[in-house]
């Protein structure tokens, strides 16, 4: 082996064995070693055929679905998950919610100079373990390093390819007046977990994210319910409120929700009250909403209950003809209230 040399720089680089350096993104030996020793070895040789370029994945039968997402969560680690679990679960979930079985993922890393290897390794380990548990291999990748201060530690992108189940096409346009809206578990866990960790709010016990993969429960719901499953959506940014607003817009119906029916962990509620946040607007990462022909509501809930990714699924309302407001919420005081569409960053308020 030749010593790695650079004719471009005098003096030569000193290899940091503690942190990511710009040299790890420069296309040379340090990058190749990083990829070989700290990524491919974790993700599995067979998965990542050519981490730095294009991968051949053979033939795909059926209608192909594709989804891409970047992950920029801060902090990188929080109770219940980390940026790695999000990156694997999030893209799998987007495919699953669109009615597709995920086949494989790509993984692209943007690393900030100075990122400790200890952090890097923890994230890669988490990605490897999560992808493995989900049964979805990572087949291609990319690594970039940016100058200190040009990124916040680490950003990830995963892009997922899947195939659609049969010819069934779910869509919010399939929602009929009277269809039940079912949520798969306690809401607002992810957003509260991240907020508490980021702002050092020091709650005890620290609130935990709901980060989870939904491809298995989605597939089971599709087989069990067929076209009685109108559509599904993971309630990520903007929370349940964002899902309901999108469905109202696409279906031209109104979505009505009984606030009392929303599953909510007591500790999530405590934090929301203290910070003045409405849980319907708080992000989830493994909790979804499904619109279901009303006579199949119990069937849907039964299927959900067989999956550990769903905890305490519950019907929360139904679709109905639109009058004025696209989304309505009953808070038990008589008249229904229009529910705002999420617009802005969630900030703790004292007012």
């Amino acid at each position: 082996m030749n010593a790695p040399m650079s004719p471009l720089a005098c003096p030569r680089p000193t290899t940091s064995d503690q942190t990511i350096t710009l040299a790890h993104g420069e296309g040379g030996k340090m990058m190749r070693n990083l990829i070989r020793d700290r990524i491919v070895s974790k993700l599995g040789e067979t998965n990542v055929q050519r981490f730095s370029d294009a991968a051949c994945v053979g033939t795909i039968k059926g209608n192909v679905a594709i989804s891409t997402d970047s992950y920029v969560v801060s902090p990188l680690f929080f109770p219940g998950g980390d940026i790695g679990t999000l990156a694997v679960h999030g893209t799998i979930n987007d495919l699953a919610m669109a009615g597709a079985s995920p086949l494989f993922l790509t993984l692209s890393l943007i690393l900030e100079e100075g990122l400790p290897f200890e952090v890097f390794d923890r994230v890669i380990d988490s990605i490897a373990e999560t992808a493995n548990t989900c049964g979805v291999p990572i087949v291609a990748g990319d690594t970039k390093v940016v100058t200190k201060g040009a990124a916040d530690g680490m950003f990830l992108n995963t892009t997922g390819v899947g195939v659609h189940h049969d010819d069934q096409r779910m869509s919010a346009k399939q929602i009929q007046p009277g269809d039940t809206l079912v949520v798969s578990g306690p809401i607002a866990r992810h957003g509260i977990a991240v907020l508490a960790a980021r702002e050092s709010l020091e709650f005890m016990p620290p609130p935990a994210s709901d980060s989870a993969a939904l491809h298995r429960v989605a597939a089971d719901l599709q087989s069990a319910l067929g076209n009685d499953l109108r559509t599904m959506r993971d309630a990520t940014r903007g929370g349940v409120a964002a899902v309901l607003h999108e469905w109202a817009e696409e279906s031209t119906l109104a979505m009505w929700v009984d606030e009392a029916q929303l599953p909510l962990l007591p500790e999530t509620r405590g934090v929301c009250e203290l910070l003045g946040l409405d849980p319907m607007f708080v992000a989830n990462e493994g909790t979804f909403v499904a619109a279901i022909a009303s006579h199949r509501t119990e069937d849907a809930i039964s299927v959900m209950k067989t999956h550990s990714s769903c905890g305490d699924p519950a019907p929360i309302g139904y679709a109905r003809r639109r009058e004025i407001s696209p989304v309505l919420v009953s808070r038990g005081m008589g008249g229904d209230q229009p529910l705002d569409e999420p617009i802005a960053a969630m900030l703790p308020r004292i007012c």
């Binding site: 020091e202 005890m204 609130p207 007591p266 500790e267 405590g270 203290l274």
Partner: protein
């Protein structure tokens, strides 16, 4: 303004006047809260917390009286629909 939330005092951390602090529970989640304005709170007492400090004790007697009024109100309204 003035978002105030009732929480239960579960543990005193520091009773030294200006630096007084206690662990307060809100629906299963606890946080350290500054207690300089309610240094006389007992464990189990409820306090109203605003912007990280307890601004008053909840008076359980008054609370029960209010709830009793509400109950009779419900009964009244049942009587006169």
């Amino acid at each position: 303004m003035c978002l105030g939330v009732p929480g239960r005092v579960v543990r005193w951390i520091n009773r030294e006047s200006n630096f007084a602090k206690a662990e307060v529970e809100f629906s299963g989640v606890r946080r350290e809260i500054h207690m300089a304005c309610v240094t006389d709170a007992n464990l189990g007492d409820y306090v109203i917390v605003h912007a990280g400090i307890a601004i008053c004790l909840v008076d359980e007697v008054e609370a029960e009286q209010t709830l009793a009024e509400l109950k009779s109100l419900g009964e009244n309204s049942d009587e006169t629909p």
